[in-house]
Amino acid sequence: MIAEAGLAALWLAASLAFLQLALAALGLAGDKAELLGAVRPVAVAQGLLTAIAFILLVMLFLRSDMSVALVASNSHSMKPWLYKFAGTWGNHEGSMLLWVTVMGVAGAAVALFERALRRHTHMATLGGQAAISLGFYAFLLFASNPFARVQPAPADGQGLNPLLQDPGLAFHPPTLYLGYVGLSVAFSFAIGALLTRQVDAAFARAMRPWVLGAWILLTLGITAGSYWAYYELGWGGWWFWDPVENASLMPWLAATALLHSVTVLATRDALRAWTVMLAVVAFSMSMVGTFLVRSGILTSVHAFAVDPERGTFILALLGLYIGGALALFGWRVGAVREGAPFELVSRETMLVVNNLLLSVILGLVLIGTLYPLLTEAFGHKVSVGAPYFDRIAGPIALMLMLVMVIGPLTRWRRDQAAAITRRALVPTLVALLVIAILAFKAWGRIGILPFLGIVIALAVAVGSVAPLWKRNLRRTPLFTWGMVIAHLGCAVSLGGMASDSAFTVEKLVAARPGETVDTAGWTLRFLKIMPVAGDNWTALQADMEVSRGGGTPVLIHPQSRFFASPPTTTTEAALLTRWNGQLYVVLGQEAEGGRWQLRIWWKPFVTLIWLGGFLIALGGAMALVGRERRGWLLKWRSRKAQEALA
């Protein structure tokens, strides 16, 4: 019954999306207030129905209802409940339902909470959101029905890919999807504003919180995903430049550019057409990413269940929506009036440079990700991996970070180069000092990129707090604090990346129980190896006692886990976190003579990478709350003033 109810809810939601689109289109075309008045309630109902369908699928997974094909092929009755729950989206159909749900709920939120947008643009936006949703409903209902039954129902189910059996699965995909799909709101805003020809500062102020919200979640999702891959895959790396990772990075790059350009539009009423374009590009990148991940046309370390036929469907949707949005842009961009002018030396220019560099990185990542597809069409099988991406993204990202030092110190509209130099003096001096120290200490021992990375990270760290210089800290608005914290987060993250690639010590040995291994100041005493068992796995576990510099020994337990359904082995690395880095130990296979392979890394300050990501998201949250609170305060004050007059 639950599965049928879920399918019915989904069909009903799809019909409501169609109704929502029709009401908005007819209402706007004929300027009929009674039709437009119904758009918002319909959007809310649609959002509710998608949420119900999703909750019903979660219930099916929790109950291990094996008569549902999706549950049978992706879950197992013996699995711990957390993974039954999270397993809902650990597969193609479930994740697409999550996609549609986020889209529906985001549309409902726009219907309920958006107050700043002009009425007609608001309705056009909701119509746009319904139009995008419709395509994905069709995909779900015709090509990936999550509620399909299977006859006869198997007893146990095939189980979830064990790499996914990790608490990370409960947090990472939903957060990522909220951000990823949340960008659809910015896309719909752009469509709405183009249709009603109302691209201006007020529009940007209305769009900004939605962009910011999606961007915060996307940042958190990427950060969490990076840490998850780092400890789960057991390779000691935190970013693999894998197509699936690029699929989440590209929308983030576009959204980051959008976040900055929308601020220019909101504050200075400049960059109108460009901001609308970026809003279209950001969600287009989300869709391209979904296509890459879901069609399985690229080899990926994270490739789970893939199906090339579905790729065609998503490709068609991609063409329809991206093509349609770009056509609308081309048609209406002439109607977007020129924005306010600005001098060459100004905050606006700095933000244009920021956008330019982010777009260049985005373009290069996109080229690198799609290049294997292009060459395969000509009969060459090619893979583009970390060497390409490191070489192109590294230097440009460092340039971007340099702009980040100067940008916030530059004034809006017009500024003097000499004045900026004076304000940037302290960060510059710090950078020079670090160069001197590093050159003296580590010249020739670390690569040029990590070297520059550390220098620039420290310069940005100082530069990011420089806007607070000589300001009354208690009267500094919360959104300024948000910018400072987010930029500081970039510095912290960059510092972690540079430190990891410059100072990581790796050791690969085969050792017998009872032996001792020394590396990077750590002493590892290999005590014993023994079998252990969990809920649905068995493992070989090494017990080790590690200590540093004669300190108190700590026990760690790297494992090699075996899962029966589906039959898979995973490595569970042992991580020991210290304030100044992480010890990362992987247990390999048995070697001759009763020895075991061990791979040991000491990674100084590697945790800063994710701490930085968290700070970036926190900064975004502070900016969001700061802006919204200011809006409420202004409204409250004007109401008070009106009451006083009356």
Partner: protein, 148 residues
Amino acid sequence: MKAKHQRLILALAALAALIGAGLLATSALRDEAAYFYAPADVKTKGVEPGKAIRLGGMVVKGSLKHAPDGVTIRFDVTDGKATVPATFKGIAPDLFREGSGVVGEGAFDRSGTFIATNLLAKHDERYMPRELEGMRYDEQSHKMKVDR
């Protein structure tokens, strides 16, 4: 400065950035894109030593040897038409075994041995490196079969 001039300067900067990025991408792709080779391609086309490639095929049964250090392995990779020797230092993937598919990332040394810096084996029962689609090892004849 007139607004028009500024727009021109910004547009030129954007154009320069675009061209620069394009050039950067082409040169980086020429150097860093790793082409996929099957052992037969290696024999017929030849690969210069040190060039980053991906080598894919099946691990020949009986060819897997463990070095005394316990962390280096040597094995032969075949596609049924040609066979090349390979070595790998590190922890091999759990599903790496004789008679099973493997894709190695790395380069050939001067002696013609493939030095893999990374091995990709079948991830789970459902995942197969895409490059190896259609290849399988025939248990009876101990030969590679290619269904294409």
